[in-house]
Protein backbone atom coordinates (compact mmCIF):
# COMPACT_ATOMS: atom_id res chain seq x y z
CA UNK A 1 0.00 0.00 0.00
CA UNK A 2 1.65 3.18 -1.09
CA UNK A 3 1.91 6.09 1.25
CA UNK A 4 2.42 9.17 -0.81
CA UNK A 5 4.12 12.23 0.50
CA UNK A 6 4.51 15.49 -1.36
CA UNK A 7 7.81 15.36 -3.20
CA UNK A 8 9.32 18.53 -1.78
CA UNK A 9 9.14 17.38 1.81
CA UNK A 10 9.94 13.72 1.37
CA UNK A 11 12.34 13.78 4.27
CA UNK A 12 10.04 15.37 6.86
CA UNK A 13 8.27 13.21 9.43
CA UNK A 14 4.56 13.27 8.88
CA UNK A 15 2.37 14.87 11.52
CA UNK A 16 0.19 11.81 11.49
CA UNK A 17 0.47 8.50 9.72
CA UNK A 18 -1.94 5.64 9.39
CA UNK A 19 -0.39 2.38 8.26
CA UNK A 20 -2.50 -0.62 7.18
CA UNK A 21 -5.22 0.38 9.62
CA UNK A 22 -8.11 -2.01 9.99
CA UNK A 23 -11.20 -1.33 12.08
CA UNK A 24 -13.64 -4.14 12.64
CA UNK A 25 -16.92 -3.91 14.46
CA UNK A 26 -18.49 -6.99 15.84
CA UNK A 27 -22.17 -7.35 15.21
CA UNK A 28 -23.89 -8.70 18.27
CA UNK A 29 -25.09 -12.19 17.72
CA UNK A 30 -27.94 -13.85 19.56
CA UNK A 31 -26.70 -16.11 22.29
CA UNK A 32 -27.08 -19.33 20.33
CA UNK A 33 -24.75 -18.28 17.59
CA UNK A 34 -22.07 -16.81 19.77
CA UNK A 35 -19.32 -18.72 18.08
CA UNK A 36 -19.77 -17.24 14.63
CA UNK A 37 -19.64 -13.54 15.31
CA UNK A 38 -20.38 -11.42 12.29
CA UNK A 39 -17.67 -8.88 11.67
CA UNK A 40 -18.29 -5.60 9.97
CA UNK A 41 -15.10 -4.25 8.51
CA UNK A 42 -15.49 -0.50 8.52
CA UNK A 43 -11.92 0.33 7.55
CA UNK A 44 -9.98 -2.08 5.37
CA UNK A 45 -6.21 -1.59 5.34
CA UNK A 46 -6.12 2.14 4.96
CA UNK A 47 -2.92 4.10 4.92
CA UNK A 48 -2.44 7.81 4.75
CA UNK A 49 -0.09 10.49 5.96
CA UNK A 50 -0.34 14.20 6.53
CA UNK A 51 2.66 16.48 6.79
CA UNK A 52 2.80 19.63 8.83
CA UNK A 53 1.10 22.46 6.97
CA UNK A 54 -0.58 20.05 4.58
CA UNK A 55 -4.25 19.18 4.48
CA UNK A 56 -5.93 16.02 3.26
CA UNK A 57 -9.50 15.47 2.17
CA UNK A 58 -11.32 12.18 2.65
CA UNK A 59 -14.27 11.87 0.32
CA UNK A 60 -16.92 9.19 0.28
CA UNK A 61 -20.51 8.37 1.04
CA UNK A 62 -22.17 6.59 3.91
CA UNK A 63 -20.56 3.24 4.56
CA UNK A 64 -17.23 4.33 3.12
CA UNK A 65 -15.51 4.29 6.48
CA UNK A 66 -14.33 7.85 6.25
CA UNK A 67 -15.82 8.85 9.58
CA UNK A 68 -14.21 5.88 11.28
CA UNK A 69 -10.85 6.80 9.82
CA UNK A 70 -11.38 10.29 11.19
CA UNK A 71 -12.03 8.92 14.66
CA UNK A 72 -8.90 6.79 14.51
CA UNK A 73 -6.89 9.78 13.39
CA UNK A 74 -8.29 11.84 16.25
CA UNK A 75 -7.24 9.21 18.75
CA UNK A 76 -10.82 8.45 19.73
CA UNK A 77 -10.85 4.94 18.39
CA UNK A 78 -8.22 2.23 18.61
CA UNK A 79 -7.87 0.31 15.35
CA UNK A 80 -8.31 -3.43 15.34
CA UNK A 81 -4.94 -3.71 13.65
CA UNK A 82 -2.47 -1.41 11.99
CA UNK A 83 -0.31 1.37 13.26
CA UNK A 84 -1.00 4.99 14.00
CA UNK A 85 2.07 7.18 14.19
CA UNK A 86 2.34 10.74 15.33
CA UNK A 87 5.53 12.56 14.39
CA UNK A 88 7.21 9.23 14.05
CA UNK A 89 6.08 7.92 17.43
CA UNK A 90 3.89 4.86 17.41
CA UNK A 91 0.71 5.28 19.43
CA UNK A 92 0.26 2.41 21.77
CA UNK A 93 -1.11 2.06 25.22
CA UNK A 94 1.21 4.64 26.71
CA UNK A 95 -1.15 7.08 28.36
CA UNK A 96 1.30 9.91 28.34
CA UNK A 97 1.83 9.63 24.61
CA UNK A 98 -1.90 9.35 24.08
CA UNK A 99 -2.56 12.45 26.16
CA UNK A 100 -0.06 14.56 24.30
CA UNK A 101 -1.42 13.21 21.02
CA UNK A 102 -4.87 14.35 21.94
CA UNK A 103 -3.56 17.80 22.55
CA UNK A 104 -2.00 17.88 19.12
CA UNK A 105 -4.92 16.42 17.26
CA UNK A 106 -8.46 17.73 17.76
CA UNK A 107 -11.80 17.07 16.15
CA UNK A 108 -14.86 19.04 15.08
CA UNK A 109 -18.03 17.02 14.58
CA UNK A 110 -20.69 17.24 11.96
CA UNK A 111 -23.72 17.96 14.08
CA UNK A 112 -23.47 21.34 15.79
CA UNK A 113 -26.42 20.46 17.97
CA UNK A 114 -25.14 17.35 19.68
CA UNK A 115 -21.48 18.29 19.85
CA UNK A 116 -21.92 20.91 22.55
CA UNK A 117 -23.18 20.06 26.04
CA UNK A 118 -26.46 21.96 26.33
CA UNK A 119 -25.99 22.39 30.07
CA UNK A 120 -22.62 24.05 29.94
CA UNK A 121 -21.75 27.62 29.23
CA UNK A 122 -19.75 28.40 26.14
CA UNK A 123 -16.67 29.38 28.13
CA UNK A 124 -16.55 26.00 29.88
CA UNK A 125 -17.14 24.20 26.63
CA UNK A 126 -14.28 25.95 24.90
CA UNK A 127 -11.92 25.53 27.82
CA UNK A 128 -12.63 21.85 28.29
CA UNK A 129 -9.52 20.57 26.48
CA UNK A 130 -7.43 22.64 28.85
CA UNK A 131 -8.42 20.64 31.90
CA UNK A 132 -5.74 19.54 34.30
CA UNK A 133 -3.10 21.28 32.30
CA UNK A 134 0.03 22.37 34.03
CA UNK A 135 1.89 25.25 32.57
CA UNK A 136 0.37 27.81 30.33
CA UNK A 137 -3.30 27.45 31.12
CA UNK A 138 -3.38 26.26 34.68
CA UNK A 139 -4.82 29.42 36.16
CA UNK A 140 -8.38 30.57 35.82
CA UNK A 141 -7.47 33.96 34.45
CA UNK A 142 -5.19 32.45 31.85
CA UNK A 143 -8.01 30.22 30.70
CA UNK A 144 -10.45 33.11 30.63
CA UNK A 145 -8.09 35.06 28.47
CA UNK A 146 -7.56 32.13 26.18
CA UNK A 147 -11.34 31.73 25.75
CA UNK A 148 -11.69 35.38 24.80
CA UNK A 149 -8.83 35.07 22.36
CA UNK A 150 -10.40 32.03 20.77
CA UNK A 151 -13.83 33.62 20.50
CA UNK A 152 -12.20 36.46 18.63
CA UNK A 153 -10.41 34.05 16.32
CA UNK A 154 -13.64 32.39 15.28
CA UNK A 155 -15.55 35.60 14.91
CA UNK A 156 -17.80 35.50 17.97
CA UNK A 157 -18.29 38.33 20.43
CA UNK A 158 -16.76 38.06 23.93
CA UNK A 159 -20.28 38.10 25.45
CA UNK A 160 -20.78 34.64 24.02
CA UNK A 161 -18.65 33.20 26.79
CA UNK A 162 -21.43 33.30 29.38
CA UNK A 163 -24.20 32.12 27.08
CA UNK A 164 -25.58 28.67 26.47
CA UNK A 165 -25.43 26.72 23.18
CA UNK A 166 -29.16 26.89 22.54
CA UNK A 167 -28.89 30.64 22.17
CA UNK A 168 -26.79 30.24 19.05
CA UNK A 169 -27.54 29.22 15.48
CA UNK A 170 -26.02 26.20 13.75
CA UNK A 171 -23.25 28.17 12.10
CA UNK A 172 -22.37 29.90 15.34
CA UNK A 173 -22.28 26.60 17.16
CA UNK A 174 -19.81 25.25 14.67
CA UNK A 175 -17.66 28.25 15.43
CA UNK A 176 -17.84 27.38 19.11
CA UNK A 177 -16.87 23.79 18.33
CA UNK A 178 -13.98 25.12 16.30
CA UNK A 179 -12.86 27.38 19.12
CA UNK A 180 -12.90 24.38 21.41
CA UNK A 181 -10.78 22.41 18.98
CA UNK A 182 -8.30 25.24 18.73
CA UNK A 183 -7.93 25.82 22.45
CA UNK A 184 -5.13 23.37 23.03
CA UNK A 185 -3.21 24.74 20.05
CA UNK A 186 -3.41 21.61 17.96
CA UNK A 187 -1.33 20.82 14.91
CA UNK A 188 -4.05 18.84 13.18
CA UNK A 189 -7.81 19.20 13.26
CA UNK A 190 -10.05 16.45 12.00
CA UNK A 191 -13.11 18.10 10.45
CA UNK A 192 -15.93 15.59 10.20
CA UNK A 193 -18.40 17.00 7.67
CA UNK A 194 -17.98 20.49 9.11
CA UNK A 195 -20.63 22.16 7.01
CA UNK A 196 -23.08 19.44 6.06
CA UNK A 197 -25.57 20.32 8.75
CA UNK A 198 -25.49 24.03 7.98
CA UNK A 199 -27.51 26.21 5.68
CA UNK A 200 -26.07 26.83 2.27
CA UNK A 201 -25.37 30.50 2.83
CA UNK A 202 -23.64 29.81 6.12
CA UNK A 203 -21.41 27.09 4.69
CA UNK A 204 -19.31 29.53 2.78
CA UNK A 205 -18.81 31.60 5.92
CA UNK A 206 -17.51 28.64 7.89
CA UNK A 207 -15.33 27.44 5.04
CA UNK A 208 -13.80 30.85 4.72
CA UNK A 209 -13.12 30.94 8.43
CA UNK A 210 -11.49 27.53 8.24
CA UNK A 211 -9.28 28.58 5.38
CA UNK A 212 -8.37 31.76 7.16
CA UNK A 213 -7.37 29.91 10.31
CA UNK A 214 -5.48 27.33 8.30
CA UNK A 215 -3.28 30.03 6.87
CA UNK A 216 -2.95 32.12 9.99
CA UNK A 217 -2.19 29.35 12.44
CA UNK A 218 -0.50 26.97 10.01
CA UNK A 219 -2.68 24.14 11.24
CA UNK A 220 -3.35 21.02 9.17
CA UNK A 221 -6.77 19.62 8.39
CA UNK A 222 -8.13 16.20 7.74
CA UNK A 223 -11.39 17.10 6.03
CA UNK A 224 -13.97 14.36 5.85
CA UNK A 225 -16.85 15.18 3.61
CA UNK A 226 -19.09 14.10 0.80
CA UNK A 227 -19.18 17.68 -0.45
CA UNK A 228 -16.46 17.87 -3.05
CA UNK A 229 -16.67 21.63 -3.27
CA UNK A 230 -15.84 22.22 0.39
CA UNK A 231 -13.04 19.72 0.27
CA UNK A 232 -11.38 21.26 -2.75
CA UNK A 233 -11.34 24.61 -1.06
CA UNK A 234 -9.37 23.47 1.95
CA UNK A 235 -7.01 20.69 0.93
CA UNK A 236 -4.15 19.91 -1.40
CA UNK A 237 -4.77 16.17 -1.63
CA UNK A 238 -7.93 14.12 -1.81
CA UNK A 239 -8.49 10.42 -1.09
CA UNK A 240 -11.69 8.80 -2.30
CA UNK A 241 -13.03 6.02 -0.11
CA UNK A 242 -15.48 3.26 -0.91
CA UNK A 243 -16.57 0.60 1.57
CA UNK A 244 -13.59 0.90 3.81
CA UNK A 245 -10.89 1.23 1.19
CA UNK A 246 -9.15 4.10 -0.47
CA UNK A 247 -9.82 3.67 -4.16
CA UNK A 248 -8.13 6.74 -5.52
CA UNK A 249 -5.83 9.48 -4.33
CA UNK A 250 -4.59 12.62 -5.99
CA UNK A 251 -4.84 16.37 -6.04
CA UNK A 252 -8.32 17.89 -6.24
CA UNK A 253 -7.65 19.01 -9.79
CA UNK A 254 -6.69 15.54 -10.89
CA UNK A 255 -9.59 13.84 -9.25
CA UNK A 256 -12.25 16.31 -10.23
CA UNK A 257 -11.18 16.80 -13.81
CA UNK A 258 -10.18 13.27 -14.70
CA UNK A 259 -11.22 10.69 -12.18
CA UNK A 260 -9.65 7.31 -12.88
CA UNK A 261 -11.58 4.99 -10.65
CA UNK A 262 -15.12 4.08 -11.76
CA UNK A 263 -16.48 5.01 -8.35
CA UNK A 264 -14.85 8.42 -8.46
CA UNK A 265 -16.43 8.89 -11.84
CA UNK A 266 -19.82 7.91 -10.49
CA UNK A 267 -19.41 10.29 -7.59
CA UNK A 268 -18.45 13.19 -9.78
CA UNK A 269 -21.19 12.50 -12.27
CA UNK A 270 -23.69 12.55 -9.42
CA UNK A 271 -22.76 15.94 -8.06
CA UNK A 272 -25.03 18.60 -9.52
CA UNK A 273 -22.91 21.15 -11.29
CA UNK A 274 -22.36 22.79 -14.62
CA UNK A 275 -22.18 20.28 -17.37
CA UNK A 276 -23.58 17.28 -15.55
CA UNK A 277 -26.89 15.87 -16.56
CA UNK A 278 -29.23 13.73 -14.54
CA UNK A 279 -29.35 11.12 -17.24
CA UNK A 280 -25.65 10.45 -17.47
CA UNK A 281 -25.63 7.74 -14.85
CA UNK A 282 -25.50 4.12 -15.75
CA UNK A 283 -28.29 2.00 -14.33
CA UNK A 284 -25.82 -0.51 -13.03
CA UNK A 285 -24.84 2.03 -10.43
CA UNK A 286 -28.26 1.63 -8.83
CA UNK A 287 -27.38 -1.83 -7.54
CA UNK A 288 -27.20 -2.15 -3.83
CA UNK A 289 -23.66 -2.38 -2.44
CA UNK A 290 -24.52 -4.74 0.40
CA UNK A 291 -24.86 -8.22 -0.94
CA UNK A 292 -21.45 -9.37 -2.06
CA UNK A 293 -18.56 -10.79 -0.08
CA UNK A 294 -16.44 -7.72 0.13
CA UNK A 295 -13.30 -9.20 1.54
CA UNK A 296 -12.53 -10.90 -1.70
CA UNK A 297 -11.88 -8.96 -4.85
CA UNK A 298 -13.05 -5.46 -5.58
CA UNK A 299 -15.89 -4.13 -3.48
CA UNK A 300 -17.26 -2.01 -6.30
CA UNK A 301 -17.62 -4.79 -8.81
CA UNK A 302 -21.40 -5.12 -8.80
CA UNK A 303 -21.88 -1.42 -9.60
CA UNK A 304 -18.99 -0.93 -11.95
CA UNK A 305 -19.62 0.00 -15.55
CA UNK A 306 -16.06 -0.77 -16.48
CA UNK A 307 -16.03 -4.38 -15.45
CA UNK A 308 -18.07 -5.57 -18.36
CA UNK A 309 -15.58 -4.13 -20.79
CA UNK A 310 -12.51 -5.74 -19.31
CA UNK A 311 -10.75 -8.69 -20.96
CA UNK A 312 -10.63 -10.57 -17.65
CA UNK A 313 -13.63 -9.54 -15.52
CA UNK A 314 -13.02 -12.42 -13.10
CA UNK A 315 -10.00 -10.58 -11.75
CA UNK A 316 -12.40 -8.10 -10.20
CA UNK A 317 -14.16 -10.94 -8.40
CA UNK A 318 -11.11 -12.68 -7.01
CA UNK A 319 -8.20 -10.32 -6.67
CA UNK A 320 -8.33 -7.26 -4.54
CA UNK A 321 -7.03 -4.24 -6.44
CA UNK A 322 -4.04 -2.60 -4.82
CA UNK A 323 -3.52 1.12 -4.61
CA UNK A 324 -0.89 1.63 -7.29
CA UNK A 325 0.94 4.72 -8.32
CA UNK A 326 -0.09 6.24 -11.60
CA UNK A 327 1.35 9.21 -13.43
CA UNK A 328 1.67 12.58 -11.74
CA UNK A 329 1.78 11.39 -8.20
CA UNK A 330 -1.65 9.86 -8.06
CA UNK A 331 -2.87 6.47 -6.83
CA UNK A 332 -5.65 4.28 -8.14
CA UNK A 333 -6.89 0.88 -7.00
CA UNK A 334 -8.55 -0.66 -10.01
CA UNK A 335 -7.83 -3.56 -12.35
CA UNK A 336 -9.18 -1.52 -15.17
CA UNK A 337 -6.82 1.44 -15.11
CA UNK A 338 -5.10 1.58 -18.39
CA UNK A 339 -8.37 0.69 -20.05
CA UNK A 340 -10.05 3.76 -21.47
CA UNK A 341 -12.97 4.99 -19.40
CA UNK A 342 -14.86 6.58 -22.22
CA UNK A 343 -13.96 10.20 -22.88
CA UNK A 344 -11.11 11.34 -20.75
CA UNK A 345 -10.94 15.02 -20.22
CA UNK A 346 -7.54 16.58 -19.87
CA UNK A 347 -4.70 15.33 -17.79
CA UNK A 348 -4.09 11.74 -16.87
Amino acid sequence: MGLVTAPSSAAATPLIELDQVVVDFEKRQPIFQRGRAEILRAVDEVGLSILAGESLGLVGESGSGKTTVGRVAAGMLTPTSGIVRSSGQVLGKDRGALASYRRRVQIVFQDPYSSLDPRMRVASIIAEPLFGREGKWSTRSARKQRVEELLGLVGLSPDSATMYPHQFSGGQRQRIALARALSSDPRLIVLDEPTSALDVSIRAQILKLLKDLQQRLNVSYLVISHDLGSVAYLVSRVAVMYRGRIVEEGSPAQIYRSPQHPYSRLLLDSVPREGTSLFALNDIAANEPEAIDVWRGCSFRNRCELRGRLPEPSRCDDIRPQLLAAANNRLVACHGTGARLGSDKGEN
Binding site: I107, L116, D117, P118, R119
Partner: protein, 299 residues
Protein backbone atom coordinates in the same frame (compact mmCIF):
# COMPACT_ATOMS: atom_id res chain seq x y z
CA UNK B 1 -32.64 56.28 41.06
CA UNK B 2 -29.02 57.13 40.59
CA UNK B 3 -26.89 55.09 38.25
CA UNK B 4 -24.84 53.28 40.86
CA UNK B 5 -27.80 51.73 42.52
CA UNK B 6 -29.27 51.05 39.14
CA UNK B 7 -26.21 49.11 38.02
CA UNK B 8 -26.01 47.03 41.19
CA UNK B 9 -29.74 46.75 41.74
CA UNK B 10 -30.30 46.40 38.04
CA UNK B 11 -28.98 42.88 38.12
CA UNK B 12 -31.16 41.86 41.05
CA UNK B 13 -34.18 43.64 39.67
CA UNK B 14 -33.71 41.95 36.36
CA UNK B 15 -33.65 38.56 38.01
CA UNK B 16 -36.77 39.22 40.04
CA UNK B 17 -38.46 40.67 36.98
CA UNK B 18 -37.63 37.57 35.00
CA UNK B 19 -38.94 35.32 37.74
CA UNK B 20 -42.21 37.21 37.85
CA UNK B 21 -42.46 37.03 34.07
CA UNK B 22 -41.89 33.32 34.14
CA UNK B 23 -44.44 32.79 36.87
CA UNK B 24 -47.13 34.78 35.10
CA UNK B 25 -46.51 32.80 31.95
CA UNK B 26 -47.44 29.60 33.70
CA UNK B 27 -50.76 27.98 32.97
CA UNK B 28 -53.48 28.62 35.54
CA UNK B 29 -53.58 25.02 36.72
CA UNK B 30 -49.92 25.10 37.57
CA UNK B 31 -50.18 28.35 39.48
CA UNK B 32 -53.09 26.94 41.47
CA UNK B 33 -51.16 23.79 42.23
CA UNK B 34 -48.14 25.68 43.36
CA UNK B 35 -50.32 27.85 45.56
CA UNK B 36 -52.06 24.88 47.11
CA UNK B 37 -48.78 23.12 47.64
CA UNK B 38 -47.40 26.18 49.33
CA UNK B 39 -50.44 26.29 51.59
CA UNK B 40 -50.11 22.65 52.51
CA UNK B 41 -46.42 22.82 53.20
CA UNK B 42 -46.54 26.06 55.12
CA UNK B 43 -49.54 25.04 57.19
CA UNK B 44 -47.80 21.82 58.10
CA UNK B 45 -44.64 23.59 59.12
CA UNK B 46 -46.41 26.29 61.06
CA UNK B 47 -49.01 23.96 62.50
CA UNK B 48 -48.33 24.98 66.09
CA UNK B 49 -49.12 28.55 65.21
CA UNK B 50 -52.35 27.71 63.49
CA UNK B 51 -53.94 25.46 66.03
CA UNK B 52 -54.09 25.61 69.75
CA UNK B 53 -55.19 22.06 70.13
CA UNK B 54 -52.63 19.31 70.32
CA UNK B 55 -53.22 16.52 67.84
CA UNK B 56 -52.94 13.86 70.50
CA UNK B 57 -54.87 15.43 73.33
CA UNK B 58 -57.93 13.37 74.09
CA UNK B 59 -61.03 15.03 75.35
CA UNK B 60 -63.54 12.25 75.66
CA UNK B 61 -66.38 14.59 76.49
CA UNK B 62 -66.04 16.21 73.09
CA UNK B 63 -65.72 13.04 71.08
CA UNK B 64 -67.35 12.65 67.69
CA UNK B 65 -68.19 16.28 67.25
CA UNK B 66 -69.02 17.20 63.66
CA UNK B 67 -67.28 20.08 61.81
CA UNK B 68 -68.03 23.65 62.83
CA UNK B 69 -70.60 24.43 60.18
CA UNK B 70 -72.77 21.44 60.99
CA UNK B 71 -75.24 21.52 63.81
CA UNK B 72 -73.59 20.27 66.93
CA UNK B 73 -70.16 21.46 65.96
CA UNK B 74 -68.18 24.30 67.44
CA UNK B 75 -65.65 26.75 66.16
CA UNK B 76 -63.01 25.48 68.57
CA UNK B 77 -62.89 22.22 66.68
CA UNK B 78 -63.08 23.41 63.11
CA UNK B 79 -63.29 20.06 61.44
CA UNK B 80 -64.75 18.14 64.31
CA UNK B 81 -63.22 15.56 66.59
CA UNK B 82 -62.60 11.86 66.34
CA UNK B 83 -63.77 9.06 68.61
CA UNK B 84 -61.12 9.88 71.19
CA UNK B 85 -61.97 13.55 71.16
CA UNK B 86 -58.89 14.65 69.29
CA UNK B 87 -59.14 17.69 67.04
CA UNK B 88 -59.36 16.63 63.41
CA UNK B 89 -58.05 19.90 62.02
CA UNK B 90 -55.02 19.79 64.24
CA UNK B 91 -54.38 16.16 63.35
CA UNK B 92 -54.75 17.07 59.72
CA UNK B 93 -52.05 19.69 59.92
CA UNK B 94 -49.65 17.66 62.03
CA UNK B 95 -50.43 14.64 59.94
CA UNK B 96 -49.49 16.65 56.91
CA UNK B 97 -46.07 17.13 58.38
CA UNK B 98 -45.56 13.42 58.59
CA UNK B 99 -47.05 12.53 55.24
CA UNK B 100 -45.17 15.24 53.39
CA UNK B 101 -41.97 14.58 55.26
CA UNK B 102 -42.08 10.88 54.49
CA UNK B 103 -42.74 11.68 50.85
CA UNK B 104 -39.93 14.19 50.63
CA UNK B 105 -37.37 12.04 52.39
CA UNK B 106 -38.31 8.93 50.50
CA UNK B 107 -37.88 10.73 47.21
CA UNK B 108 -34.59 12.15 48.35
CA UNK B 109 -33.11 8.81 49.33
CA UNK B 110 -34.76 6.79 46.62
CA UNK B 111 -33.78 9.20 43.88
CA UNK B 112 -30.20 9.53 45.09
CA UNK B 113 -29.61 5.82 45.27
CA UNK B 114 -31.48 5.21 42.05
CA UNK B 115 -29.52 7.90 40.21
CA UNK B 116 -26.15 6.63 41.29
CA UNK B 117 -27.01 3.08 40.35
CA UNK B 118 -28.60 4.13 37.07
CA UNK B 119 -25.59 6.25 36.13
CA UNK B 120 -23.17 3.48 36.91
CA UNK B 121 -25.08 0.77 35.10
CA UNK B 122 -25.84 2.95 32.11
CA UNK B 123 -22.38 4.31 31.60
CA UNK B 124 -20.26 1.27 32.18
CA UNK B 125 -22.64 -1.33 30.83
CA UNK B 126 -21.37 -4.85 30.71
CA UNK B 127 -21.79 -7.23 33.61
CA UNK B 128 -22.59 -4.56 36.17
CA UNK B 129 -25.36 -3.25 33.99
CA UNK B 130 -26.77 -6.71 33.34
CA UNK B 131 -26.78 -7.71 36.99
CA UNK B 132 -28.16 -4.44 38.28
CA UNK B 133 -30.88 -4.23 35.67
CA UNK B 134 -32.02 -7.77 36.37
CA UNK B 135 -32.29 -6.85 40.04
CA UNK B 136 -34.29 -3.80 39.05
CA UNK B 137 -36.54 -5.91 36.87
CA UNK B 138 -37.21 -8.30 39.72
CA UNK B 139 -37.97 -5.52 42.16
CA UNK B 140 -40.26 -3.77 39.72
CA UNK B 141 -42.10 -6.99 39.01
CA UNK B 142 -43.08 -7.43 42.63
CA UNK B 143 -46.42 -5.94 43.63
CA UNK B 144 -45.52 -2.75 45.40
CA UNK B 145 -48.09 -2.76 48.13
CA UNK B 146 -47.53 -6.36 49.02
CA UNK B 147 -43.80 -5.92 49.36
CA UNK B 148 -44.32 -2.74 51.29
CA UNK B 149 -46.55 -4.53 53.75
CA UNK B 150 -44.22 -7.45 54.18
CA UNK B 151 -41.23 -5.20 54.72
CA UNK B 152 -43.07 -2.85 57.01
CA UNK B 153 -44.31 -5.67 59.15
CA UNK B 154 -40.85 -7.18 59.20
CA UNK B 155 -39.08 -4.05 60.32
CA UNK B 156 -41.82 -2.79 62.53
CA UNK B 157 -43.77 0.45 62.43
CA UNK B 158 -41.76 3.63 62.84
CA UNK B 159 -41.24 6.83 60.95
CA UNK B 160 -37.80 5.96 59.61
CA UNK B 161 -38.81 2.45 58.76
CA UNK B 162 -41.58 3.77 56.61
CA UNK B 163 -39.16 6.10 54.87
CA UNK B 164 -36.81 3.20 54.30
CA UNK B 165 -39.47 0.91 52.90
CA UNK B 166 -40.80 3.52 50.50
CA UNK B 167 -37.31 4.53 49.34
CA UNK B 168 -36.50 0.90 48.76
CA UNK B 169 -39.49 0.56 46.50
CA UNK B 170 -38.71 3.78 44.70
CA UNK B 171 -35.06 3.45 43.71
CA UNK B 172 -35.55 0.82 40.98
CA UNK B 173 -37.92 3.08 39.07
CA UNK B 174 -35.47 5.94 39.21
CA UNK B 175 -32.55 3.71 38.31
CA UNK B 176 -34.28 2.42 35.26
CA UNK B 177 -35.30 5.90 34.15
CA UNK B 178 -31.82 7.30 34.58
CA UNK B 179 -30.16 4.38 32.88
CA UNK B 180 -32.46 4.59 29.89
CA UNK B 181 -31.88 8.30 29.56
CA UNK B 182 -28.18 7.76 29.92
CA UNK B 183 -28.01 5.37 27.03
CA UNK B 184 -29.20 8.15 24.76
CA UNK B 185 -27.10 10.91 26.27
CA UNK B 186 -24.01 8.74 26.21
CA UNK B 187 -24.09 8.67 22.43
CA UNK B 188 -24.13 12.42 22.03
CA UNK B 189 -21.11 13.92 20.38
CA UNK B 190 -20.18 16.13 23.29
CA UNK B 191 -19.78 13.08 25.51
CA UNK B 192 -17.65 11.36 22.89
CA UNK B 193 -15.60 14.48 22.65
CA UNK B 194 -14.98 14.61 26.37
CA UNK B 195 -13.98 10.97 26.38
CA UNK B 196 -11.87 11.57 23.31
CA UNK B 197 -9.79 14.28 24.92
CA UNK B 198 -9.01 11.93 27.74
CA UNK B 199 -11.32 12.86 30.59
CA UNK B 200 -11.79 10.29 33.31
CA UNK B 201 -15.06 8.41 33.51
CA UNK B 202 -15.94 10.04 36.81
CA UNK B 203 -15.36 13.43 35.29
CA UNK B 204 -17.56 12.67 32.31
CA UNK B 205 -20.31 11.35 34.56
CA UNK B 206 -20.33 14.33 36.85
CA UNK B 207 -19.77 17.10 34.36
CA UNK B 208 -21.75 15.91 31.39
CA UNK B 209 -24.02 13.02 32.15
CA UNK B 210 -25.54 13.99 35.46
CA UNK B 211 -26.62 17.51 34.48
CA UNK B 212 -28.21 16.18 31.34
CA UNK B 213 -30.28 13.47 32.97
CA UNK B 214 -31.35 15.76 35.78
CA UNK B 215 -34.34 17.33 34.01
CA UNK B 216 -36.04 14.02 33.34
CA UNK B 217 -35.04 12.89 36.80
CA UNK B 218 -36.87 15.84 38.28
CA UNK B 219 -39.95 15.06 36.24
CA UNK B 220 -40.04 11.43 37.27
CA UNK B 221 -39.43 12.28 40.89
CA UNK B 222 -42.29 14.74 40.91
CA UNK B 223 -44.64 12.17 39.47
CA UNK B 224 -43.46 9.55 41.91
CA UNK B 225 -44.18 11.89 44.82
CA UNK B 226 -47.83 11.17 44.25
CA UNK B 227 -47.22 7.45 44.47
CA UNK B 228 -45.14 7.84 47.55
CA UNK B 229 -47.82 9.76 49.39
CA UNK B 230 -50.33 7.09 48.49
CA UNK B 231 -48.00 4.33 49.52
CA UNK B 232 -47.39 5.82 52.92
CA UNK B 233 -51.09 6.37 53.36
CA UNK B 234 -51.78 2.78 52.39
CA UNK B 235 -49.22 1.46 54.81
CA UNK B 236 -50.60 3.54 57.60
CA UNK B 237 -54.09 2.59 56.63
CA UNK B 238 -53.44 -1.05 57.27
CA UNK B 239 -51.49 -0.30 60.37
CA UNK B 240 -48.06 -1.06 59.08
CA UNK B 241 -46.98 2.54 58.84
CA UNK B 242 -46.72 5.37 61.28
CA UNK B 243 -47.42 4.10 64.79
CA UNK B 244 -49.99 5.73 67.06
CA UNK B 245 -50.55 8.21 68.49
CA UNK B 246 -48.86 10.27 65.77
CA UNK B 247 -51.30 11.10 63.07
CA UNK B 248 -50.69 10.75 59.40
CA UNK B 249 -53.34 11.09 56.81
CA UNK B 250 -53.41 7.38 56.16
CA UNK B 251 -53.85 6.63 59.82
CA UNK B 252 -56.70 9.09 60.00
CA UNK B 253 -58.48 7.51 57.07
CA UNK B 254 -58.09 4.14 58.71
CA UNK B 255 -59.50 5.31 61.98
CA UNK B 256 -62.46 6.89 60.30
CA UNK B 257 -63.25 3.89 58.23
CA UNK B 258 -65.34 2.04 60.76
CA UNK B 259 -67.28 5.17 61.64
CA UNK B 260 -68.18 6.31 58.14
CA UNK B 261 -71.90 6.32 58.83
CA UNK B 262 -71.78 8.42 61.96
CA UNK B 263 -68.56 10.33 61.48
CA UNK B 264 -68.17 11.07 57.80
CA UNK B 265 -65.75 13.92 58.50
CA UNK B 266 -63.15 11.63 60.00
CA UNK B 267 -62.11 9.97 56.76
CA UNK B 268 -63.22 12.67 54.37
CA UNK B 269 -60.76 15.41 55.21
CA UNK B 270 -57.61 13.35 55.31
CA UNK B 271 -58.81 11.53 52.21
CA UNK B 272 -59.27 14.84 50.45
CA UNK B 273 -55.85 15.94 51.57
CA UNK B 274 -54.24 12.82 50.12
CA UNK B 275 -56.16 13.15 46.91
CA UNK B 276 -55.30 16.80 46.47
CA UNK B 277 -51.63 16.22 47.18
CA UNK B 278 -51.39 13.46 44.63
CA UNK B 279 -53.27 15.60 42.13
CA UNK B 280 -50.96 18.52 42.71
CA UNK B 281 -47.83 16.45 42.23
CA UNK B 282 -49.16 14.79 39.13
CA UNK B 283 -50.15 18.07 37.57
CA UNK B 284 -46.81 19.63 38.34
CA UNK B 285 -45.01 16.57 37.02
CA UNK B 286 -46.94 16.63 33.76
CA UNK B 287 -46.31 20.30 33.30
CA UNK B 288 -42.62 19.91 34.07
CA UNK B 289 -42.34 17.17 31.53
CA UNK B 290 -44.03 19.27 28.87
CA UNK B 291 -41.90 22.34 29.46
CA UNK B 292 -38.58 20.65 30.01
CA UNK B 293 -38.67 18.02 27.32
CA UNK B 294 -38.73 20.13 24.16
CA UNK B 295 -36.03 22.32 25.56
CA UNK B 296 -33.85 19.32 26.03
CA UNK B 297 -33.79 18.80 22.32
CA UNK B 298 -32.86 22.39 21.83
CA UNK B 299 -32.62 23.79 18.38
Amino acid sequence: MNTEIASVGGGAFAIVRRMIDRITELPLSVILCLLLLAIFVLSSIFAPLLVDQSPTYQDLIRRMQPPAWVEGGSVDYLLGTDRLGRDVFSRLLYGGRISLAVAGLAILFGASVGTVIGLWAGYFGGIVDAVVMRAVDVLLALPTLLVAIVLAVAVGPSFWNVVFVVSFLLWPKIARQVRGELLAVKEQDYVKYAEGIGRSSMSVMLRHLLPNVTPSLVVVSTLELGHVVLLEASLSFIGAGIPPPHPSWGVMVDEGRALMATGWWLSLFPGLAIMLTVLIFNTLGDWLRDTLDPRLKLR
